[in-house]
Amino acid sequence: MYQDKSYFSGLFCGIKSICIGLKTTMREFFTPKITEQYPENRKELKMFDRFRGSLTMPHNEKNEHKCVACGICQMQCPNDSINVVSEMVEVDGKKKKQLVRYEYNLGSCMFCMLCVNACPHDAITFDQSFENAVFDRSKLIKQLNKPGSKVAEKPMPARPAVAKPAAKDAEASVAQAAPDQAKAEKPQPATDEATEAKAEN
């Protein structure tokens, strides 16, 4: 039907291309289907490597993380989803910044990954948990550093390129962490506001 082709060559070209199209769809018809039937297969469901579930801070077995509380991630975040609370402590006569709380608001995160790219120490990463539904908005504000954790003395030898916990583990940890965090975090916004109010005054 193209004007630049003659009648018959256009006709045969059209027939040929339709046949190619029909062949392609017929092949698609018999390929295995990629649909994930989610609630049934949640046991064996495995998300893709590049899937961004929610921000996490990996800890090693000694309950150490790599965050030095520089706050670059907080500055990079377009949505103000990250709030790094740090304090200055004196170690061996040197003043050093130390992480107190790493607060992450999942509700306002848009999963742009700017924070992870910006982090100089590879301290944060995205995991593959996606079952993030909660009944209260305040539960979406999570504390990423585990209680009692501290920064690793020397950088961990190998960065876990992409954290790939099985969906089951992630979901279990989320399920366990959620009530704890809810308890731990509920008074926090109030205190934050109080401190902010003080600062303003």
Binding site: M1, L22, F29, T31, I34
Partner: protein
């Protein structure tokens, strides 16, 4: 091969022994009408399920699989939802024409539905002009579509109806010419005779070889256009016209258009299987008597439904492969390509028949 006319004859005699002749004919007519309407609804449900599944598979999806085993009850749920829905009364429309339009569409497709040969001796309408009758009554549906577009008093339905009218009238020419090609081969228009001839001498698509094959391909294209289905679905192109001529319809009035659309697909496939693939005629290969005996053992209705659903699958394959065409492309495809080709094909078939080149 089982002859269904034994049963209908027995029923007729039974009724005659109880009631006078006119009452017997009346009862039989009502019975046949009930059977038609029931089959109509059943096939619509089967086709909608099949369409959704096949569409899903072509797009690497699974299709409906939540309601019932493999989603089998999904269509029933949809039908009951549609039955419950309110039929909206709109102001500033011609209510009479607006409400009348779906019935034209549904009546036209039911009349053509009644012409299909289900089994040996089981055809409801069997005139000696069978094929011509199908062409004639199917053109009534266009009036319904145009009335639906006008009666809605809205611009999208109007545009959809105009497109649909232009498209259906154009593609009716190709359909008519391909049917004429096959009638040229069979020498009769009576549907029962066409099928019986094919049962005796082999399917038309094998008997007519090259011209029959060309006619079959053209019929597949034009049949899809006649049913307003993609790639020719621009009368109801949802991205431009919301839903085309049935935008303003709700509840069961919309349901009638929906039913008619799917049944028109079935009817187009049924006619294709009748005139090209031998209707209820089993597959025979000359010389293989054992094979032919096995094929004869399969009842005719299975043959007919099997062939029809095969053609329905071809239609769906075509639909879910190609993107929607523009209106000028649709009309130039018909008037510049399909119609000249089918005319040349008719002459070719006439030559084949005149020189007895058919198998």
């Amino acid at each position: 091969m089982f002859d269904f006319s034994v049963i209908s004859q027995w029923l007729h005699n039974l009724l005659l022994s109880i009631v006078p002749e006119w009452a017997a004919i009346l009862i039989e007519s009502v019975l046949v009408a009930l059977v038609i309407i029931t089959l109509y609804a059943v096939f619509a449900i089967v086709l909608i399920y099949m369409e959704r599944k096949i569409c899903g598979f072509f797009q690497c999806r699974l299709g409906p699989n939540r309601v019932g085993k493999w989603g089998l009850l999904q269509v029933f749920a949809d039908v009951f939802k549609m039955l419950q829905k309110e039929i909206i009364k709109m102001r500033q429309t011609d209510r009479f024409l607006h409400d009348l339009a779906p019935f034209f569409v549904v009546t036209a497709s039911m009349l053509t539905f009644a012409c299909l040969p289900w089994n040996k001796g089981a055809h409801m309408i069997d005139f000696n002009i069978g094929i011509f009758f199908i062409l004639a009554v199917s053109s009534v549906g266009v009036v319904g579509i145009l009335l639906a577009g006008w009666g809605s008093n809205s611009k999208y339905p109007l545009i959809g109806a105009m497109r649909s009218g232009a498209q259906i009238i154009s593609y009716e020419l190709s359909i008519g010419l391909t049917m004429l090609t096959m009638i040229c081969l069979t020498g009769t228009m009576q549907i029962s005779e066409i099928v019986e001839q094919q049962a005796a001498e082999g399917w038309n698509i094998f008997r007519g070889h090259v011209p029959a094959l060309i006619a079959f391909v053209i019929y597949l294209i034009a049949g899809n256009a006649e049913c307003n289905r993609g790639p020719f679905d621009l009368p109801e192109a949802e991205s431009e016209l919301t839903a085309g001529y049935h935008t303003e319809y709700s509840g069961m009035h919309f349901g009638y258009f929906y039913l008619a659309e799917y049944l028109n697909l079935f009817i187009a496939a049924g006619i294709a299987s009748t005139i090209f693939l031998g209707g209820w005629a089993p597959l025979h290969i000359a010389g293989l008597d054992g094979f032919n005996g096995v094929m004869d053992a399969i009842p005719g209705i299975v043959w007919f439904l099997g062939k029809t659903f095969f053609v329905v699958f071809l239609f769906m394959w075509e639909r879910w492969t190609l993107p929607r065409l523009r209106i000028d492309n649709i009309l130039s495809l018909e008037w510049k390509y399909l119609m000249p080709i089918s005319m040349a094909n008719l002459v070719l078939m006439a030559l084949v028949v005149a020189f007895k080149l058919y198998l």
